[in-house]
Symmetry: C2
Subunit: 321 residues, 2 copies
DNA sequence: TTGAAAGCGCTACCAG
DNA sequence: CTGGTAGCGCTTTCAA
């Protein structure tokens, strides 16, 4: 490349990186740019970061659980915000392998920061990543992990809000939907626990309701409904809530008269049902905030990792409860 | 690393890559493995692919348009399948930049293959990628691109199926929802065209209906409904269909008596509405198939890029039409 | 069976 | 102002 522009490789590097320390003559500059354009020259990221000793890659393993629209919007924001700070966000598909084992694969890319959604990463994995040069490891999940910054998504609070709401409405026999789908346990368990805590000491009873995300499973559950004797149900999220609510209505259960239903996530679609679905609205941290946290952590890696409570949860009462 | 195991770097390389060409004594082997574990040694992917001259990275730019659950399932499959073939799938967040410009950024990573969802990549971009060493460039979109393998997602056919279905049902004044959201035009335009083609010569009229994905916009459209005089509507996809159908029902329009509604994508949620939503089911290619296509293309890069028709579309009539 | 050394593409220092 | 050059971590050929 340099040869064809008639200059040395160093000069090329200077020109393309707009190095300020050295001044390159305008004609040379032009020749370099022209040659680059003509050859379709593109710098080699691997070589660059090898030389530099660090990269600007922020690695985000793709979540191993079925993620909803909420998560995808958040992800988009985050990518945009990190992009503005000149990081390159890379989503790495490492499905099927568990965290600490996967961490090794992630470390091969020598990312400057790693954002791990969900549980699954242990202290071991954090160590591997840090040793490989990651200047920030951030977990987004229900529990903090030794050595990593934690964005604590307190799903227990989501359940707690839902439980309190139902109790306030005078409901005493509360069902809690627990998805049967793989990988959702880490999210459903705290929600269930939250409901239990909210109802503890009120004399209300909590019943666990396993449910797969298909009509048949919902119909089966609805058929058992009279025997269950429940006057309320917290349905994990809006999608399960919509599924269950429909099945209940088809089985002749009146909502909210016989049974109150509340979901979570505040999806637009829940507003379209009749009755309109009550829900727990969840405020994820904004992509911008997370991006800034990452940036701070990268710039001053000495700082002790902090734990931030980042989930706002509030009930949006509508007509189904 | 090598020093601490008491052997040379070459030996380390042999052991960790299980090189078959040379035989390493068992004790040495063990020493290397032990040292690697103790130091938490992880090979440096950049250095490796720099030396090798190529990588096993399959790059997939994150789509610049709001992607639905359909796409995310497909993506998961694909990652799994490519992972099995020992490729590393990397999703690159390059939102906001247009294809040919972004291609340059993608090329910096020297991926062995690039899968580009949606339109936006032109022949220029393909050239850049190929010159940078990509052995396969595959587009997943409405039109083929010069020089790239194309998986042709024929959304025109989706519209055509919907249009034919409505015509068969005797509908003559058909509305077609066109989302106002950014980036969806490339998908909605062919669907609209498909409806037009299906209805051409039947004497039926087609009306374009811009709609944003929120309740207010839907309510405004529903309020104009009587004046529009439509007896059917194809609502771009199930989500817009659900939104519009609810607004129409609230405005007193009977479905399907006054107006038939059909969506697309066959989301489970559509089945939960009353009346149950008719839809056009779309068969995406399986992740496994795409993975194999990529693998073939990588292994024999001489082959002329092919164009494959990969979208099965069929009407699933339910109660809303 | 192991070690020494070259070189992948790039940047940063230092000499011209 | 520009060019030569060392060296990032790794693999691979050649020699010992």
């Amino acid at each position: 490349m340099a040869r064809l522009a008639g200059v040395s490789r160093a000069t090329v590097s200077y020109v393309l990186n707009k190095a300020t320390a050295v001044r390159i003559s305008e004609p040379t500059r032009r020749r370099v740019h022209a040659a680059a354009k003509e050859l379709g020259y593109v710098p080699h990221a691997a070589a660059r970061s090898l030389r530099a000793g660090h990269s600007r890659v922020v690695l985000m393993p793709a979540p191993g659980f079925p993620a909803g629209p909420l998560y995808h919007r958040f992800l988009g924001d985050l990518q945009l915000a990190l992009g503005r700070l000149d990081y390159t966000v890379v989503q790495y598909g490492s499905m099927g392998v568990d965290g600490d084992e996967a961490a090794r694969a992630w470390a091969e890319l020598r990312p400057v920061a790693v954002l791990v959604p969900g549980p699954g990463l242990g202290p071991q994995g954090v160590t591997v990543l840090k040793r490989s040069g990651a200047r920030a490891v951030v977990t987004l999940g229900p529990r903090p992990v030794e050595g990593a910054h934690a964005l604590l998504m307190d799903f227990e609070a989501v359940g707690h809000r839902a439980g309190s709401h139902l109790a306030e409405r005078g409901r005493r026999r509360v069902g809690v939907v627990v998805p049967e789908e793989e990988g959702l346990a880490a999210f459903s368990a705290p929600r269930l626990a939250g409901v239990r805590r909210a109802l503890h000491g009120t004399g209300a009873a909590v019943t666990e309701l396993p449910l797969a995300y298909d009509e048949e499973s919902a119909a089966r559950l609805a058929a058992r409904w009279p025997g269950l004797g429940l006057d309320a149900v917290f349905a994990y999220n809006d999608e399960y809530a919509m599924l269950l609510m429909r099945a209940l209505q088809d089985a002749g259960v009146r909502i909210p008269a016989d049974t109150a239903v509340i979901g979570a996530d505040d999806l637009m679609l829940g507003r379209l049902l009749r009755p309109r679905l009550s829900t727990v609205h969840i405020d994820l941290p904004s992509g911008r905030e997370l991006a800034e946290l990452v940036d701070r952590a990268v710039r001053s890696p000495g700082t002790a990792p902090g734990t931030h409570e980042v989930l706002g949860a509030r009930v949006v009462p509508r007509d189904s409860s």
